[in-house]
């Protein structure tokens, strides 16, 4: 059987044109997806049943026992951390927020270690963004800054920019210019019309120089700025000002480097400077397929996009204090529920040392690095493969993922709802 219009649950592009061939309840072929999506859709290394760490061995347990363990752990903790959430659907994220409020815990999602700084900048100066469809059909200039879509979002170029048709562009491939700004000459830089190579840590200075040139303050620009020549800076500003519609996409090359959210703020302010001459927009290249959704769900339920602390009974937000890396590094939380992420692979070691000291329950379909720190892991269905639910694309468009297989695994939402019901029963 061939299932059409499947939504790929890998990256923030959330491609919705995938075809999946299913035979004997297994995915046997995938069409249209990139290598990342295809591998995920065909992945088979699932954990078979819930497991419990018993001293130095692992014991198989039932879903009932595992859910009871997790509920008890959260109820008896003084400062539980509920972390992850970008690898699951919005309906499950909702239950997570309710649970955090009930136990006065901290709920944080993976954006604190990806585009959290971008959100901090947006909170300062706003977000002049647009949907991917607008860029595809209108943009005649695209800038990738600190982002390497060929490796991280492989179909972004073919669906929306470099290789995409555009309704308002006569010959999109010829008429659409692509500029790449990076410290490395990445694969994406190789397909760009202009590559601006910056010395590491120099993004803020280059953004400021571009803003000065756009404003006409050309006499203040030195011969080179962070390794970029004056001539190239002028050339890039000319390309931008002569474009009818420009779109900037930035990645972790801006959020993780020195300056962090101030880099993004400067890039957004460059966008608004350019919009005085022509039309410009800027957006983040979001990583996980539903990390944007975790920000949306958290914001509409708590008022804040990530790093929400309910210890006062009301939501409180202070990145750097209420974010997962900081809470773990300070050895502050006394239990952790991990859903749809793998902090042991992606957090600094000091955080893992604390994870080893506290009870941890993880909901994840696969054994991963965090499994080693779990007291209990509960395997769940994969959203977009054997569970369905809402995810938000990197441009904020909600798309309902589809179920292509029926397995016996419960979804994140089902497991969390049962956990929450037990917790409500105990607290009422």
């Amino acid at each position: 059987m061939i299932v059409k219009d499947v939504v790929c649950p890998f990256c923030g592009c959330l491609c919705d044109d995938i075809e999946v061939e299913v035979e004997d309840n297994r995915v046997v072929a995938v069409t249209n997806a990139c290598e990342l999506g295809m591998t995920k859709l065909m992945g088979e290394e699932r954990m078979k049943n819930p497991i419990l760490r018993d001293g130095n061995t692992w014991k198989d347990i039932t879903y009932d026992e595992a859910i009871r363990y997790a509920a008890d752990m959260l109820l008896s903790a003084e400062r539980p951390l509920l972390y992850g959430w970008s690898g699951t659907h919005g309906e499950a994220q909702c239950v997570g927020v309710h649970m955090a409020e009930l136990v006065h815990g901290v709920i944080d999602n993976t954006s604190s270690v990806c585009h959290g700084p971008s959100i901090l900048a947006i909170q300062e100066v706003g977000h002049p963004g647009c949907t991917l469809g607008v860029v595809k059909n209108r943009a005649d200039l695209v800038i990738y800054w600190g982002s390497n879509p060929i490796d991280a979002h492989p179909r972004h170029l073919s669906r929306y920019t470099r290789y995409a048709e555009g309704f308002f562009l006569e010959n999109a491939f010829r008429d659409r210019k692509v500029i790449v700004v990076d410290i490395r000459k990445t694969e994406t830089a190789n397909v760009a019309d202009e590559f601006m190579q910056i010395k590491p840590g120099g993004d803020y200075a280059v953004l400021s120089a571009l803003r000065a040139i756009v404003r006409g303050k050309t006499e203040t620009i030195p011969r080179t700025v962070a390794g970029v020549t004056r001539e190239q800076l002028f050339r890039v500003v000319n390309l931008c000002k002569n474009a009818k519609f420009g779109a900037i996409y930035f990645g972790l090359g801006l959020t993780m480097t020195p300056g962090k959210y101030k880099n993004i703020r400067n890039a957004i302010e460059l966008t608004s400077e350019l919009s005085r001459h022509t039309k410009f927009t800027i957006s983040a290249m979001r990583g996980h397929y539903n990390v944007y959704g975790s920000n949306e769900v958290n914001t509409w339920m708590t008022g804040y996009p990530f790093g929400i602390d309910y210890s006062r009974g009301i939501s409180f937000y202070n990145p750097g204090e209420t974010t997962a890396v900081d809470i773990l590094a300070r050895k502050e939380c006394d239990a952790a529920l991990i859903v749809g992420s793998d902090p042991a692979a992606h957090f600094p070691r000091r955080c893992l040392e604390h994870l080893a000291d506290i009870p941890v329950v993880q909901l994840d379909p696969y054994p991963n690095a965090t499994t080693a720190f779990c007291n209990v892991q509960i395997p769940v269905a994969v959203t977009g493969i054997d569970a369905e639910g809402t995810a938000y694309r990197m441009d904020g468009v909600p798309i309902r993922t589809r179920r292509v297989l029926s397995t016996g695994y419960p979804s994140d939402e089902e497991v969390l709802t049962r956990m929450y019901a037990l917790m409500q029963g105990a607290r009422s």
Binding site: V113, P200, M256, F306, A324
Partner: protein, 129 residues
Amino acid sequence: MNFLMITGRTVNQGVTVENKTSAAYAAETSTCFMHEFDMLELGLADGDPIRVTGPCGEVVMRAIGSLEVEMGSIFVPYGPYANHIIAAGTRSTGMPDFKSHEVTIEPTDEEPKTVHRLMEDLGGLAYDR
């Protein structure tokens, strides 16, 4: 020799990311992409093990020559190896300095550890089924 360590995504990291206990994931995330002149300076050939020392520890990786990386910097695909030596400070943003760590690199005879072993060194227990 001292280098600036930058971490980031690669296609191979993404392809193996849902199978973190695999040898392929370990191989990809323990790869240190370096400029070939820097490798020459350290007497390294492609695939040679190196000891990378950061502000909070050391880890063994393998050096691979790359045309993308500038001299003086190294690129390591995101994962447990780079994070083994990355500091947890976030400068009040929630975000560690994933792309701006100063590290020291020297050749070594040791082999990179498995992901299981790295996790067990920090107090975890590998699950192997």
